[in-house]
């Protein structure tokens, strides 16, 4: 089996490389978009508590939708290919970042907020100098969760023609090509674990530079 897999990888090295590359670019695009959407949205919600309740409720509903359902839901709207897959994965990763950011910003120690305002900081300065830095470790943890979710769910993008390592698996399934199938699965697992470890290390770095609220 192992020999078969090595043989397959040797013969199809280019396919494997391409699938992995596509998997990564799909995941990175979705993660980047999720961050770019979630951060300003969380900031806006913190400033408008009246909207926050319903918005957080909606995000919580979004969170319960399975990744496959989100991907398939894109078919009638955007068709097949990279873009609908990236949109679905963005929506899939969004809640973790949004909820963590919102909660972390809301839960900054009120005494520290009082001290900042009392020294004469504007709301903007308070956000930039105090709240964001203090919330950063938790925001980063949200990004890590989203990254792992997206990398795993990107496997299913193959179902709507989004490409990625999932393609090896679906193709292997179709032709009952065991080495290809298993290799695809292992590659996805390795990528998810590498993402988790990479972000965990980076997160520790963030925590160390920012310092914990003692």
């Amino acid at each position: 089996m192992l020999r078969d897999m090595i043989a397959w990888a040797a013969a199809h090295g280019h396919d494997l490389e391409q699938a992995a590359g596509r998997h990564l670019s799909l995941s990175l695009t979705a993660l980047g978009a999720a961050i770019l959407l979630a951060l300003p949205l969380a900031l806006a919600l913190v400033r408008r508590p009246s909207l926050a309740g319903s918005a957080i409720g909606a995000v919580n509903v979004l969170r319960t939708i399975p990744s496959l359902a989100l991907l398939v839901a894109m078919l009638p709207l955007l068709g097949t290919g990279f873009v609908p897959a990236a949109v679905a994965l963005t929506l899939y990763g969004l809640p973790a970042i949004l909820l963590n950011t919102y909660t972390a910003l809301r839960e900054v120690d009120p005494d520290i907020v009082e001290a900042g305002l009392g020294q004469g900081m504007t709301e903007r300065q308070l956000m930039r100098r105090i709240k964001l830095p203090l919330a950063l470790p938790v925001i980063f943890a949200g990004i890590r969760t989203a990254a792992v979710q997206i990398v795993s769910a990107a496997t299913l993008a193959a179902f709507i023609g989004g490409g990625g390592l999932g393609e090896l698996i679906t193709a292997g399934m179709g032709t009952l090509d065991m080495p290809q199938l298993v290799l695809g699965g292992l590659a996805v697992a390795a990528l998810a674990v590498a993402t988790e470890i990479g972000f965990a290390l980076a997160e520790r770095g963030v925590r160390r530079t920012v310092g914990s609220a003692a």
């Binding site: 005494d111 520290i112 009392g118 020294q119 900081m121």
Partner: protein
């Protein structure tokens, strides 16, 4: 100078005002200590002065200027504020914490740096040792010192200090009181200082204002508060030992008179507080004590002093 005129604040949903038609005047360069039971409105009063809370009614004047409608952000940069829970920024170094207001005011870096070192020295912290540390690596007492240094950094004429020595043990507390009392007087700051501790109030205050249920009950110099409490609440608040507290405010040298003490009478230093002299006389069973270099203090003189109306 800080003046509050008929200031009231009722929080939404509260049954009674947190601050109720409060009049208070603190002359320039003086320290007024606000004291009263928990929940009587001390913190609310302070937060009204720097407009973290908007009063429902009344006027606030700081340094001759009506600030009731002033820009709160600019106002706060002119008022040093030490909060009840210290509130240092945990992700910043001590130097960055102390530099907060100068930075907000746009001071150039070459002016901020020496100022931060100067402030740390002033509050008794060796700059070289503390500048680059984070608040979590400081003791409670050291954090309180940094909190005061941060409030003083931009040299505001007015200081609001909400239980600045709340979180430290009695010995550190006594040291901080003595040190900061001297610093505030030397810098001629106009201060509102909140405490729960009547002894601290008497030690730190040029004026002591006693509050109850949002209202001012009595505002007077410590001597007067102890000798002529306005009502039973104040008398009870200052304590059954208020005569002893008054004696603690004066020293043997203050009332020493020429005369003779009986053989075997104890001798005390001129700086000894009258409260301690009384204790020494009681312990020795004597009626008078020699005061080194300035005569004698008699039991009768102490009694007169304790009962004196101011």
């Amino acid at each position: 100078m800080i003046r509050l005129e008929q200031v009231s604040k009722t929080f939404p949903g509260a049954a009674r005002p947190a601050v109720d038609r409060l009049d208070l005047e603190v002359p320039a360069g003086k320290t007024c200590v606000l004291i009263g039971p928990s929940g009587c409105g001390k913190t609310t009063t302070m937060r009204i002065v720097n407009r973290l809370i908007e009063p429902d009614a009344g006027r606030i004047v700081v340094g001759g200027e009506d600030v009731t409608r002033a820009d709160p952000v600019q106002l706060r940069r002119r008022i040093g504020y030490v909060i009840q829970q210290v509130g240092l920024f945990p992700h910043m170094t001590i130097a960055q914490n102390v530099a907060t207001v100068p930075q907000l005011l746009g001071w150039p870096a070459e002016r901020i740096k020496p100022r931060v070192a100067e402030m740390l020295t002033l509050v008794g912290l060796e700059p070289a040792q503390f500048l680059d540390r984070h608040p979590r690596h400081l003791s409670g007492g050291q954090r309180q010192r940094v909190g005061v240094a941060r409030a003083l950094a931009a040299d505001p004429p007015v200081m609001l200090m909400d239980e600045p020595f709340g979180a430290v043990d009695p010995i550190v507390r006594a040291n901080l009181q003595a040190e900061f009392g001297a610093i505030l007087r030397q810098l001629a700051k106009t201060v509102i200082f909140v405490t729960h501790d009547i002894d601290e109030a008497i030690r730190m205050g040029d004026l002591v204002a006693i509050m109850k249920d949002g209202r001012l009950v009595q505002c007077a110099p410590p001597e007067q508060l102890l000798s002529a409490p306005a009502n039973a609440f104040v008398a009870d608040f200052v304590g059954a030992d208020r005569a002893l507290k008054r004696l603690a405010l004066a020293s043997a040298g203050d009332i020493a008179a020429p005369g003779e003490a009986p053989a075997g009478a104890p001798t005390v230093a001129a700086a000894t507080s009258l409260r301690d002299v009384l204790s020494i006389l009681l312990a020795a069973g004597a009626d008078a004590a020699w005061v080194a270099g300035s005569g004698v203090v008699t039991m009768a003189a102490i009694r007169t002093r304790a009962a004196l109306k101011v």
